[in-house]
């Protein structure tokens, strides 16, 4: 008799489905007739990457609150619908479909992790809903189609920036690379750094790997020490970098460690402490930068969340701001029109620097290199794209 059941279940399911399609039709005209403009956000609010997802979400929420406090866009308030994808593969496709087809959002913001952005991007593209990723740096994300944007720079740019910095400013010859193989971001950034570093005559002395979530890096660091490099490139997230720096110092490794924007977070120095002194990383903005956009953001974020913002928060904030700006400019909530407006954004003053959307829908903006000095981030130099 259990053969019979699936067919019954199918029948019932399809009946329900039929009903659902009926119910959902009215809202499928994006944002129309309402006094709000619905914007969807998908983020890893729980699960293994929740710390990044929550930061990014905080930034986004801050921007939306700010916009609404200033009277909203096109005379309407922005309603931010946030869905959690639990840092799980497969979930972002589901939630983005829900946001688009059940909630009828006009645009999508998200995700931090490139793999989850890549899952959602084809859906947004098919539905002609613009999607802005705050901080997915993998080049493939925006290659999905002309509705997919991002407000961060991409791995090849950042990789090259750090390679040049290591070669020219730090004058390094032999560098070890310690990659988080679980993270697409880390793997991508490592790849472009290695390319950049070797083409300028540097040598990769050792390559070691870890998995995000690891806490013990002694084995890798001991091997790195044995290879005797003059610097270590760690294209990872701050969640591990602090511990890596600590353990490196404990093993007697005194060479500089440097990495990318994944480092940027107040927790980095809290955990790594003195072990990080004299280390470098590239990122989007310097909190000391005097631009009003940056100052305004840092002040408001600290007031609201009682914590200093990290890069993910700044990018989340910018993704919402630039979307609102595009909607304002085009005067419409139509997906295609928003897309066109986004593609035309130039020198938009964001918390993560001035953003210009290039032909490939990536943010073209300068990278800032910071040094960790006396437990704070010190500005070193700006590298234009």
């Amino acid at each position: 008799m259990n053969i019979l059941r699936p067919s019954i279940i199918c029948t019932v399911a399809f009946t329900i489905a039929g009903l659902l399609t009926g119910c959902n039709k009215p809202s499928s005209v994006p944002g129309a007739g309402d006094d709000t403009i619905k914007v969807g956000e998908f983020a890893s609010l729980t699960g293994s990457e929740a710390t990044f997802g929550q930061s990014s979400h905080n930034g986004t929420q801050l921007a939306v609150d700010e916009i609404n406090a200033a009277g909203g866009v096109l005379g309407k308030k922005i309603q931010l619908l946030t869905e959690d994808d639990q840092s799980q593969a497969g979930q972002s496709a589901t939630v983005v479909r829900k946001l688009i087809s059940s909630d009828g959002v006009v645009a999508i913001l998200g995700e931090v992790a490139s793999s989850r952005s890549l899952e959602a991007a084809p859906i947004c593209q098919q539905n002609k809903i613009p999607m802005i990723s705050p901080s997915s740096t993998n080049p493939r994300v925006t290659e999905v189609g002309d509705f997919i944007f991002r407000v961060c720079f991409i791995d090849p740019f950042q990789g090259t920036v750090m390679a040049n910095f290591a070669r020219k400013t730090l004058k390094l010859q032999n560098v070890a690379v310690l990659t988080d193989v679980k993270s697409d971001y880390s793997v991508g950034l490592a790849k472009f750094f290695k390319e950049g570093f070797t083409t300028t005559g540097g040598k990769i002395a050792a390559e070691q790997n870890y998995s995000g979530g690891d806490k013990d890096f002694n084995a890798q660091l001991t091997s790195i020490k044995a290879a005797n490099p003059d610097g270590i490139f760690v294209p990872g997230y701050y969640t591990e970098v602090g511990l890596i720096a600590l353990q490196a110092k404990q093993l007697g490794l005194t060479i500089p460690i440097f990495g990318g924007d994944g480092w940027e977070s107040p927790s980095l120095v809290q955990i790594g402490g003195a072990a990080l002194e004299g280390d470098y990383f590239s990122t989007h903005f310097s909190p000391q930068a005097s631009t009003p956009a940056v100052q305004n953001f840092v002040k408001k974020y600290e007031a609201k969340f009682k914590d200093a913002p990290d890069a993910m928060a700044a990018l989340g904030y910018d993704s919402a701001l630039i979307l609102a700006d595009a909607i304002k400019k085009t005067g419409s909530t139509d997906g295609t029109k928003i897309r066109d407006a986004l593609a035309a954004e130039k020198d938009f003053p964001g918390a993560s620097g001035n953003i210009t959307i290039d032909a490939n829908r990536n943010a073209s903006k300068p990278a800032v290199i910071l040094e960790i000095k006396n437990g704070a981030f010190q500005y070193v130099q700006t590298v234009a794209p």
């Binding site: 259990n2 699936p6 199918c10 489905a17 399609t21 593969a89 688009i100 059940s102 890549l118 697409d184």
Partner: protein, 326 residues
């Protein structure tokens, strides 16, 4: 119900799936893809039930087989560009089959230690195999490594998901409900006695693993062509455990219960999501009175799981009669 008509039901279910797929574009895509998830969960849970429920071998690596199927089929279909309706479905069928076979091969590999190991030891080894598969994929640059693999074609549809779910149920139920298949349950009930009664326990255990893995591979293919993007991290041991939960909540060795549990557990998080999205409640004017559910959705989910097990430990849908039906 007389099992004699099994084949009729199978064909009926497939035909129905086909009919439904013709109307797919009238279904809200969000729900449509949830149906795909349900179909995939059914294939996974029912095939795992053959290993865990009927044969009594405790496998914690089912998502690993799914990964093998997902990657194999995706690598095949990614070789092709846009195809006509018929060609696309033809290629898809071949790719799914290939994914299933690749996973079955992996199942054979895992099945071999099952000959020597029992209970928790077997469980941890299957878990280990699942993790090893994940780590290998993570380091295979050809399929994108940790960066994941984009699957070009979204060929999964209602016909394939529910047709294959029906086939899985048919195969597992047919296997078990035959004189030959009573051997599976005999192995579960008492391995020593089964061996003494002339049942080649080795063959049965390996068969269960191979058949179970085959369908997990097919489910992987369906998954890959529904999500269109796969990463090794999506097939970790927490995923395997999610399927084990379905089997146990449905009642070990109870196919109907397991199907219902697969549906329930796929819908539950979405249901909580919907609740939190309700904007107005009668009598309340607050904008999202249930918004807190959104923040605590997974806490509620895990609490529900505990409460369900405490109140219905024999499985949610276990029937009074023996869990093994005639």
């Amino acid at each position: 119900m007389n099992f004699r008509h099994a084949k009729t039901f199978l064909l009926g279910a497939i035909a129905l799936g086909f009919l439904a797929s013709l109307f797919a574009d009238r279904i809200n895509p969000y729900w449509l893809f949830i149906f795909y998830d349900i179909g995939i969960s059914i294939v996974m849970a029912v095939s795992l039930n053959l290993i865990n429920g009927y044969t009594g071998q405790f496998s914690l690596g089912h998502a690993g087989f799914m990964a093998v199927g997902a990657y194999s089929s995706a690598v095949i279909t990614n070789q092709f560009g846009d195809l006509s309706f018929l060609a696309a479905n033809g290629i898809f069928a071949v790719a799914l089959l290939a994914g299933g076979l690749a996973a079955a091969l992996a199942g054979l590999l895992v099945g071999i230690p099952s000959l020597r190991l029992r209970g928790d030891y077997l469980a941890i080894v299957t878990l280990g195999f699942g993790e090893i598969i994940r780590v290998i994929l993570q380091n295979m640059d050809k399929v994108g490594g940790a960066r994941g693999l984009s699957v070009m074609h979204g060929w999964t549809n209602l016909f394939w998901t529910f047709g294959l779910a029906a086939v899985t149920v048919y195969v597992v139920a047919s296997l078990v409900n035959s004189t030959y298949g009573r051997g599976f349950i005999a192995v579960r009930d008492d391995e020593v006695a089964a061996e003494a009664m002339g049942i080649n326990t080795t063959k049965y255990k390996v068969t269960a693993f191979v058949v179970g893995a085959f369908f997990a591979g097919i489910a992987g293919g369906l998954y890959a062509h529904s999500k269109q993007f796969i990463t090794p991290g999506g097939f970790g041991f927490m995923q395997s455990i999610a399927f084990v939960v379905m089997v146990i909540l449905g009642g070990m060795g109870n196919t109907i219960g397991v199907i219902l549990a697969a549906i329930l557990l796929t819908l539950l998080p979405e249901g909580l999501r919907m609740l939190s999205g309700i904007e107005h409640l009668p009598g309340l004017t607050a904008e999202r009175p249930l918004g807190w559910i959104g923040d605590t959705r997974m806490i509620i989910y895990s609490l529900l799981l505990i409460v369900l097990m405490l109140t219905r430990p024999q499985g949610l849908f276990s029937l009074k009669k023996s869990s093994v039906q005639k």
